[in-house]
């Protein structure tokens, strides 16, 4: 039986450890035979904003990890369109999650509607919220 697992990211990325932990868990589940989906929604979409630079705050950040998701075959990465709109973040302002294996073209999170996310949620055996 195909097993579907979703990681949903709701919190803003730097004020707590939650988003960092969510990314760790993405890499852990990438090594299992599981159909993993990752959805960034609410303040979680802030994690995908390009140009985040922790050097002034003395923090390493996780931008490099996000850019390695495709290398670990975490490719089903989605972002809620409504949450982006509320925060005035355009699609052009999202970070890449890696490069396509064959074409080397950068891969970006797929922008989806809340209705599509609801449909996806219905198909999961488990959802881990962060």
């Amino acid at each position: 039986m195909e097993r579907n697992l979703m990681i949903s990211v709701h919190r803003p990325p730097h004020g707590s450890i939650y988003v960092q932990e969510a990314i760790e868990v993405m890499f852990i589940f990438a090594s299992y035979d599981i159909n993993l989906s990752v959805v960034f929604m609410d303040d979680g979409v802030m994690a995908l904003k390009s140009g985040q630079d922790g050097s002034e705050a003395g923090m390493k950040g996780f931008m490099a990890s996000l850019g390695a998701l495709v290398d670990f075959e975490v490719e089903n990465v989605f972002v809620d369109e409504e949450s982006l709109k509320e925060r005035n973040i355009s699609v052009d302002d999202l970070v890449s999650i890696g490069d396509d294996f064959d074409t080397d073209v950068p891969v970006y999170p797929k922008v989806v509607s809340s209705a599509e996310i609801r449909e996806m949620m219905d198909k999961q055996q488990g959802i881990l919220p962060f």
Binding site: P12, E56, A57, N88
Partner: protein, 98 residues
């Protein structure tokens, strides 16, 4: 009075609640996730815009802005470093909204 807000305005009503108690001449400092309130053109931008137009001085920690890629905060918001934070605390009585 100096008010500090460290939560995102999308996740917490702290900034909205705080703004009811802030008067002209007061200072408001945004830090940590609070700096998301200083982003331009969002559904929450109106909170900071109305405080600025009511004569409140609005500051945001520079390291928190750069970390979160808020590269062009709402016009009128002043970026300060940690030394500037200390100066503000020295100059005003403090109320932290946590």
């Amino acid at each position: 009075m100096l008010h500090t807000v460290n939560k995102s305005p999308f996740q917490s009503s702290n900034l909205k609640n705080c703004s009811r108690y802030v008067k002209s001449g007061d200072a408001l400092l945004l830090l940590e996730d609070g700096v998301y309130a200083a982003m331009q053109g969002t559904e929450q931008s109106g909170l900071i815009e109305s405080l600025l137009s009511n004569g409140v001085s609005v500051y945001a920690i520079s390291a928190d802005l750069t970390m979160r890629a808020v590269s062009q905060p709402i016009e009128g918001v002043t970026a300060v470093d940690y030394a500037g934070f200390v100066d503000l605390v020295e100059e005003h009585p403090l109320h932290s909204w946590l």
